[in-house]
């Protein structure tokens, strides 16, 4: 009986892991031609809405938790020179992206808006230039920088110089060379 239970646990573990991989490993090479208007909270300049408050559109990132898309987003983040301002997430001219606090909201819809429409003080509007499916890939990657994507779908490092936290252990000052 004991053994059956053990075998059962193993099978269950395998099945559950199997299910998780379906979403993670999908590779949608050809983008579906979808165009969606996004009006997240942060996009509004005014709280007032004529005709009573609108119901918020349910916007989900089609690339959420998808390893391939996150990786594509990582490549595009460099190709479209997002690194020029945001560095590899650490920030520079632009704000850092490894964080929990977002000026214009951190939901996928907000990030999409931010990229497509631009923001004051330097964030260019990329809408019309970057195809939408790529914006979503970049959104997925940016969210992964903030730890908002499942571990198993996120690359842990790039083949670049690592952005190091300023101190790792400075408790003991050893001899330096």
């Amino acid at each position: 009986m004991r053994k059956l239970a053990a075998a059962g646990i193993a099978v269950l573990a395998l099945i559950s892991w199997t299910l998780t991989s379906c979403q993670r490993e999908k590779r949608e090479l050809r983008a579906a031609p979808v165009r969606r208007a996004i009006y997240g909270d942060a996009a509004r300049q005014s709280e007032l809405q004529p005709g009573g408050p609108q119901t918020e559109p349910q916007v989900t990132n089609p690339d959420h938790a998808n390893a391939w898309s996150i990786s594509e987003g990582q490549r595009l983040f460099e190709w479209y020179n997002c690194v020029g301002c945001h560095s590899h997430g650490g920030g520079g001219i632009g704000p850092p992206l490894i964080k929990k606090h977002w000026i214009y909201g951190g939901q996928p819809a907000n990030l999409f808006d931010t990229i497509v429409k631009g923001r004051p003080n330097g964030m260019p509007a990329w809408g019309g230039r970057i195809p939408e499916y790529q914006v979503w890939q970049i959104v997925a990657y940016v969210r992964s920088l903030a730890g908002e994507q499942p571990f198993a779908a996120t690359p842990v490092r790039t083949d670049e110089l690592e952005q190091k936290p300023t101190t790792i252990h400075n408790k003991v000052q050893g001899e330096t060379r």
Partner: protein
């Protein structure tokens, strides 16, 4: 009933607490496996060193040597415990086995705790650069092995306290000490590589 030419072995003992046992050879094989792995890692350490100008890379403090040296001495001394235990096992003296194993366990734990402290004071981690990755990996693997062997020692002590003193138990004590010798022995080159090599091969190439 058939008549055959025979070789009678009923006079041979059950278990001989010595290197005659297959388990001893099996353990030596495991030591070879571990040893080969550490040798490859040492080779990699120097390979990385050759491909870089600065070693350790900029921003990395040289590791302290004082505490690691103390730990090395502790580890060497703890072999005395293993030795006493394995001699006790050969002569079937339960007290000697128990005392030896306890000494081994106590010094071994002290060794690990001090190593943990020295490790904690390093100012780099596995993700800092390739030097950090290599050093942390070597330390991690050796600590894992040492911890496993000390756990095994603890289990043996418990078994001894519960009065298990059969021949296979004594053989286990003997083999346990062989593994500990190996772990201490292999630690000497690793210690030199981790703590002294940066001082000797650290100059810009």
């Amino acid at each position: 009933m058939i008549r055959r030419r025979t070789l009678d072995v009923s006079g041979l003992p059950d278990i001989d607490v010595s290197s005659q046992e297959p388990i001893w050879w099996g353990q030596i094989c495991l030591c070879c496996i571990e040893g080969a792995m550490f040798c490859i890692l040492i080779a990699c350490y120097f390979y990385f060193r050759l491909s870089l100008d600065m070693w350790p890379p900029p921003g990395t403090q040289l590791p302290h040597v004082a505490i690691p040296t103390v730990t090395l001495i502790l580890a060497i001394v703890s072999c005395l415990g293993s030795y006493r235990a394995s001699e006790g096992a050969k002569k079937n003296e339960r007290g000697a086995m128990l005392r030896g194993l306890l000494l081994n366990l106590a010094l071994g734990c002290a060794f690990l705790i001090l190593r943990g402290y020295a490790w904690y004071t390093l100012n780099f981690n596995w993700a800092s650069d390739v030097h950090g990755s290599t050093v942390w990996t070597i330390l991690g693997l050796h600590t894992m092995d040492a911890t496993a062997d000390l756990l095994f020692t603890a289990v043996l002590i418990v078994a001894l306290i519960f009065g298990r003193t059969g021949r296979s138990m004594r053989l286990a004590v003997h083999v346990d000490s062989v593994v500990w010798y190996f772990l201490v022995l292999i630690w000497i080159p690793l210690y030199i590589v981790i703590y002294w090599a940066p001082r000797f091969v650290g100059a810009p190439a």
